[in-house]
Symmetry: C2
Subunit: 145 residues, 2 copies
DNA sequence: CTATATCCGTCAGAGAATCTGACTATGAAC
DNA sequence: GTTCATAGTCAGATTCTCTGACGGATATAG
């Protein structure tokens, strides 16, 4: 029973996630996988809670719960949305930025390892296919830039 | 901030998972995502709890907890491992087989949709890259056949 | 301008999933 | 036949996630 394509992606995704989380934790930033899944979707100018929920594929309540934790830990802050008084923007705070930089470094490192194993051509093909796949699998595939 | 490769995989994986779970539920098989992640790793001749845990990337305790539920729901059964009295094999039971067939059908359907969107060449390249990636991301990438 | 519908986020409560640590029993290595 | 490793379980706590109900803000229709 060869693994289906979705499962193959799960395996690689988990490997990346674990590497990043371990490194971030080692750098002194305690953060859980669930928190990270929300955190990494926050845009440079802040993102609404509902959008974070949608992208991370959890309910607004769950997203709110996780943002509460991230806020208490100093990784993010909430600010009113100037364009809509109902909404609030979740923004990355100073400590969050520091953690994000560590994470980005590890992501680059892991991607480099993957590229080394696959070779340039296959790596490019993988990214190309994944990005195109996103067009039909990510209801939110637009300008989150 | 273009999405990193791991995140792109997460998105597609989630899309597949949701499709399959919804269809399986519609067919009358109530099963959660966590249960499914364990279930789909069970080999044709049964698999040890520890191996399931390792592949699904959870602790033995968590795997045991989920297998308990699957067993109570009639999807799997536990049998002693003839080769080691300490171990027990988790095997797919009749009801599990039925659910698995429904799932396999949806997986095929989703993969076909993906192939239609990507085209044959890119689809093959995706699978090829993912399978090679598994060599370095799946500590268990061997003969689970 | 008001009524109605809709959207944003939160509160409350429950259930599911996950972990760490400690334990039993079996197997393997000298 | 001790000693160390392995397979699984028990107990307890924490984290994650959901459904349902709600209050406040916006949009739309008249």
């Amino acid at each position: 029973m060869a693994l289906n394509t979705g499962l193959l992606m799960f395996v690689a995704h988990r490997a990346m996630e674990r590497r990043v989380l371990d490194a971030v934790a080692a750098a002194g930033f305690a953060i859980t996988a669930a928190q990270a899944r929300i955190f990494q979707r926050i845009g440079p100018d802040g993102t609404r809670l509902g959008e974070l929920a949608e992208q991370a594929q959890v309910t607004k309540q769950t997203a709110g719960f996780l943002v509460d934790q991230l806020e208490r830990a100093g990784y993010v802050e909430r600010a009113p949305d100037p364009t809509d008084a109902r909404a609030r923007l979740v923004r990355i705070a100073e400590r969050g930025r520091a953690a994000g930089e560590v994470a980005a470094g590890v992501v680059a490192e892991v991607e480099a390892e993957w590229a080394a194993h696959l070779g340039a051509r296959r790596t490019a093909a993988l990214r190309d296919a994944l990005e195109r796949l996103r067009e039909i699998t990510d209801p939110w595939a637009e300008g989150d830039q």
